[in-house]
């Protein structure tokens, strides 16, 4: 009995000493060495454990073993608890000591910006892509054929004079004057698309166009348009009105609506102007559209008795100008970085 009670008191003493050592560790490193010591060969608990074998009575030995195990667990738990406390304290100290002023940073490289006309073009393209259109492009220097003739404007057509065309000087004496020009609209691309694609065609054609206009707050001689065509069997005027409406809502917002009213363009018939209406009821003229004239379809190599199509077009610069409240369109083309960087 005496030996077992001695063992019990030795275990209890080992635990008391261990717990005090743990409590005495002041930082994680100190605790780690305490931990190593307690697990070491010379630690009180290890010594006691090694003496277990000497106990003859099986029952006694078992209960002594259990007591040592319980003691070891208590110590381990105390270490864990103490370690967590010390680490938390140390991290808190670290965080407190390394405060940094986040507004104190040096920019390595500033991001540039895309031009607002490009931004407008891309937004327009994306809306039409969503409506199932592909994007087509064409040359800016064009022939009379693509810019006028193929668009139902033969040589003497009076509407030609309304385009204020800029012509290219003939390259040689045998080149006919005014046969090469800067395209006055994106419509030549209609013809090029029809000549090289097969119906069904759903295409939008953004691009740069040229008119002999003196620059002012709302006009530039070099500006941008987007034009769209749909050519397929069974395409009617109602589809034109539908696409204009769908575009209006997608681009300007659901509160906008559109209307078509009769107008005249040589390349479409029936022709229409399309207006959009703000929620406040104000109508804004946006662009022109219409059913493609049979002569235009023919010029594109498409049989007007088999296919029908519609076309629409409007200016891009104005979209950018109005979206960003630019007062004078010329500002968009000064290439002043103070202007450009506003829109990154």
């Amino acid at each position: 009995m005496s030996s077992s009670s001695t063992l019990a008191s030795e275990i209890s003493q080992a635990q008391t000493e261990a717990l005090s050592a743990i409590a005495g560790a002041l930082d994680a490193a100190g605790l780690r060495s305490v931990q190593a010591e307690l697990a070491g060969k010379k630690s009180a608990l290890t010594v006691l454990r090694s003496q277990l074998g000497k106990i003859q009575d099986a029952e006694e030995r078992k209960s002594a073993g259990q007591a040592i195990h319980a003691c070891a667990q208590t110590i381990e738990a105390a270490i864990g608890e103490r370690m967590a406390l010390l680490l938390a304290g140390e991290r808190a100290q670290q965080v407190a000591s390394e405060a940094m002023d986040l507004s104190e940073f040096v920019t390595a490289k500033r991001r540039g910006s895309t031009h607002i006309v490009t931004q407008a073009t891309q937004r327009l393209e994306d809306v039409f892509i969503g409506l199932g259109f592909q994007v087509a492009e064409g040359p800016e220097v064009e022939t009379d054929f693509y810019n006028f003739e193929a668009l139902n404007m033969p040589k003497t057509h009076p509407a030609r004079s309304e385009f204020d065309t800029m012509f290219i000087e003939p390259a040689s004496a045998d080149q006919e004057p005014n046969s090469v020009l800067l395209r006055t609209h994106t419509s030549p691309v209609q013809i090029r698309v029809m000549q090289s694609w097969k119906p069904p065609i759903y295409a939008v054609m953004p691009g740069r166009v040229f008119r002999r206009d003196t620059p002012d707050a709302t006009h530039m001689p070099v500006f941008h348009q987007i034009e769209g065509i749909v050519v397929d069997k069974g395409i009617t005027f109602a589809h034109l009105a539908g696409i204009i409406e769908a575009f209006t809502k997608a681009f300007f917002g659901n509160e906008f609506t559109s209307r078509l009213r009769p107008s005249f363009f040589p390349f479409t018939e029936p022709s229409a102007e399309f207006d959009i209406r703000r929620a406040n009821g104000a109508w804004i003229e946006l662009g022109g559209c219409g059913m493609m004239h049979p002569n235009v379809l023919r010029a594109g190599g498409i049989d007007p008795d088999e296919y029908t199509g519609f076309a629409f077009g409007f200016g891009i610069d104005r979209m950018a100008k109005e979206r960003h409240n630019v007062e004078d369109i010329r500002e968009m083309y000064t290439n002043d970085l103070r202007f450009l960087r506003q829109f990154s």
């Binding site: 500033r110 540039g112 259109f133 009076p158 539908g242 029936p270 450009l340």
Partner: protein, 785 residues
């Protein structure tokens, strides 16, 4: 085209809801640009007579006008208009008058000289839509009267219509009224005419020697005329339409023109009674039009001459001074003709002379409206000339060029269905378009009808023109809105997608997108070291400084850099993606899309860094041909980017001379890439490499290398020496200066070795290191301790 509400209502009962009328006109395709009320009285505006005019030496743009407002007191008024002369009766807004635009008339003048009121234009007091000068009231108007009272003015509404080119009939009241009556379901009432032919037969012979240019020429003689002023209502109509009342004959002529869209000319009969000759002018022939301007004609201009071959008018545009109706005129010859539209337009453009007649002839008037117009002329003239005699024997000279009166076109009802999406029967078609003068009759073809086109619609020729008329009168809004379901996959092409990626990369590299003018001044290309020989020139530039089309983005970009530098903007980094247009061998130039990035204050290494980022993200490689510096670049700090013989672009610094010419301070790094080539590349997808699970070994090597050996050569040698085990090689430092001889620099590389299938031994690593050092030494490099 200005349309008066009261006048329009004479053609049908359109009612008084002017907004509804305006909306309906717009829906029919004649956009109403403005609706203005006229004739709402302005209190305090009285009639006054101009006594005399004086100029002030210090005020060139204004006139001192002395007027009498009926009280015999001479009042002084400053006036900016120039159309008045002594004796004219004009509106005087007296002191204290509240003008419709909000102004209050005060005594304050200029140069310290007071103004006792203001003389007004028709627009300023809402009496006409002509704001170009003072409103001149009819002679004999009493002075000092309220202007509105004096004129017996009723208030009215002016619709200003934007008449499109396809509506030649709508530059006259009848055409507008016909469309609107159909559109509003009203009955059209034609104006009253006088078809009497009481007098002796008087025929004026007409010889047309240019039959293509004048296909019809009618002359009607009327006598028993006394020249007077028109009644107020006629004068007011003309005034409100922006025309000046002259006398009863000229006013009637103008009324008929406005009302029936039928330009006509009244000659003093005595001056033309022997006949007319319609012929082309002789080159350089002189003629004084009735605006007293002497005009020089070309052999393409058509003249109307009297029997003595003396010109009396430029066909379709303006008459002459000498044959004009005068106060002594008692008989007139009224000419109503049809002139070929394109030729009238050409002459009108050449002479820069646009008249009420020319604007109608050049669109195409009704070639068969002459009789009705002449009868209307007589009806209106009889108001002031009760003794008017209309002579029989009117001349009607026609040539083979005259249009057929009854033109027809076959219309397939299915075409209406295909284009407009609506089913229209022959009956429904007739209901829609017969009110506007078309006829519908049976065709030999089933499903088709024959549509007769009215003679006043020369814009209509084929089936599709009829479809448009159907659409207009059916109503665009009634055709429905259906969003078609596209069977096409909406997407950007590969080129367009790559362009967008490229743009994002360039922006993320710090550049902002510019859009310089693609037009250059002569010499701009030479200034940047490029030839102007292959540049296109504009035949009709706006200004000479913008007459050359760019063959390179460089000149425009340099201008933008210089602009920003001159505005003290820091960190200038710009790019452009745009077309250039060098002349090739075809009709159209070798136009292509180009990218140009410029960074001010940066050297060639910045340009190389930009190119390497672009090249790796687009997956396009190029050889760096530094032995072929591109034109306009710094000769020892630039290279062409090449793929075999194809030039993909240029990279490096801009030539210091070019920069000096452009007024740019400091270096400019530049990258140009031909996007038409590069964006068209479709790089194959990268094949994934297995990432080795085994440890890698790193070491650095720094060499002193002669300047004559390029870094690229070094890299190539190290790569070769490193073999398959060398998985990473990067130049991380370049050093020139102390400790390195002047013709050399130190290049420091970081190398990483790794095998896919094993851990490398120390022996393997030192073996590769030794090989690399040996390879470098072969190039004359020495390892730095």
């Amino acid at each position: 085209m200005k349309i008066l509400h009261s006048w329009l209502n004479e053609f049908a009962d359109f009612g008084n809801d002017v907004d509804a009328i305006a909306d309906r006109i717009t829906e029919l395709g004649l956009a109403v640009e403005s609706v203005d009320r006229v004739g709402t009285p302005v209190k305090g505006v009285v009639t006054a007579k101009v006594i005399r005019l004086e100029k002030h030496p210090d005020a060139a743009k204004v006139t001192r006008v002395y007027v009498d407002a009926g009280d015999g007191i001479e009042r002084h008024v400053w006036c900016g208009a120039t159309n008045m002369q002594a004796g004219d009766i004009v509106p005087l807004a007296t002191l204290g008058t509240n003008m419709p635009d909000g102004r209050v008339i005060t005594q304050r003048g200029i140069l310290g000289i007071d103004s006792e009121g203001m003389l007004c234009s028709g627009t300023e007091i809402g009496l006409s839509s002509d704001g170009s000068g003072l409103l001149i009231l009819p002679q004999g108007t009493a002075l000092g009267l309220d202007v509105y009272e004096a004129l017996g003015v009723d208030s009215d509404v002016v619709f200003d219509l934007d008449v499109t080119r396809n509506r030649p009939d709508c530059t006259g009241y009848l055409g507008v009224a016909r469309d609107l009556a159909a559109g509003m379901g009203k009955r059209l009432v034609l104006p009253k005419v006088d078809q009497s032919a009481a007098g002796q037969s008087l025929t004026v012979p007409v010889a047309i020697s240019a039959p293509e240019r004048c296909s019809r020429f009618t002359v009607k003689v009327m006598s028993g005329i006394s020249i007077t002023q028109s009644p107020d209502w006629i004068a007011r109509r003309l005034t409100r339409a922006g025309m000046r009342p002259i006398n009863n004959v000229v006013d009637v002529s103008n009324l008929v023109n406005l009302e029936l869209n039928q330009p006509n000319h009244a000659y003093d009969f005595e001056s033309v009674k022997d006949g007319f000759i319609v012929r082309l002018a002789r080159e350089g022939e002189q003629f004084t039009t009735l605006d007293s301007v002497e005009r020089t004609l070309s052999s393409d201009d058509l003249l109307i001459c009297n029997a003595q071959d003396k010109p009396v008018g430029i066909a379709g545009i303006m008459g002459g001074l000498d044959s004009e109706v005068t106060d002594a005129t008692t008989s007139i010859a009224v000419e109503i003709a049809y002139f070929e539209p394109d030729a009238v337009r050409a002459t009108s453009t050449r002479l820069a002379l646009r008249t009420e007649a020319s604007l109608r002839f050049e669109r195409g008037v009704d070639p068969f409206g002459a009789e009705f117009a002449a009868a209307r002329f007589a009806e209106l003239l009889r108001i002031t000339c009760p003794n008017l005699v209309v002579h029989s024997g009117a001349t009607d000279a026609r040539t083979d060029a005259l249009h057929q009166q009854a033109r027809t076109t076959e219309v397939r009802l299915n075409t209406i269905k295909r284009v407009l999406g609506i089913d229209v029967t022959a009956k429904a078609l007739e209901d829609l378009i017969s009110p506007i003068g078309f006829t519908v009759s049976n065709s030999a073809d089933v499903g088709s009808v024959v549509v007769g086109i009215p003679s006043w619609r020369n814009d209509c020729n084929g089936e599709i023109d009829i479809v448009e008329e159907v659409a207009r009168h059916y109503g665009y809004d009634n055709l429905g809105k259906i969003v078609p379901t596209s069977p096409v996959h909406g997407r950007l092409s590969d080129v367009q997608r790559r362009r967008r990626i490229l743009r994002e990369i360039v922006v993320s590299l710090g550049a902002s997108e510019a859009m310089p003018n693609p037009f250059l001044a002569p010499g701009d290309l030479a200034k940047v070291g490029l030839s102007e020989e292959n540049a296109l020139k504009l035949a009709n530039p706006l200004v000479a400084e913008e007459s050359v089309l760019r063959t390179s983005l460089v000149p425009g970009m340099l201008k933008s850099i210089a602009y920003n530098q001159s505005h003290r903007i820091r960190d200038i980094s710009l790019f452009e993606i745009g077309h250039v247009y060098p002349q090739g061998t075809e009709v159209l130039p070798d136009e292509y899309e180009s990218l140009c990035i410029m960074v001010a204050g940066a050297d060639a290494s910045v340009a190389m860094d930009l190119w390497s980022q672009i090249s790796s993200s687009l997956g396009v490689g190029a050889q760096l041909a530094q032995d072929q510096p591109p034109a306009g670049y710094h000769a020892t700090r630039s290279a062409q980017l090449k793929r075999g013989k194809i030039v993909l672009g240029s990279v490096g610094e801009i030539d210091p001379t070019v920069l000096a010419n452009a007024g740019i301070v400091g270096r400019v790094a530049c990258v140009e890439v031909n996007l038409s080539v590069v964006l068209n590349d479709t790089p194959k997808p990268q094949i994934a490499q297995v990432i080795s699970k085994y440890p890698s070994s790193d070491f650095d090597l720094a060499f002193v290398v002669s300047n004559s050996v390029s870094a690229a050569t070094m890299v190539k040698a190290l790569r070769q020496a490193g073999g398959n085990l060398l998985i990473d090689l990067a130049l991380f430092d370049v050093y020139r200066g102390k400790g390195v001889s002047e013709d050399s620099r130190s290049l420091a590389y970081r190398l990483r070795l790794q095998a896919p299938d094993r851990t490398l031994t120390d022996v393997e690593v030192s073996d590769v290191r030794a090989k690399c050092i040996a390879a470098a030494e072969k190039l004359g490099a020495t390892l730095r301790g």
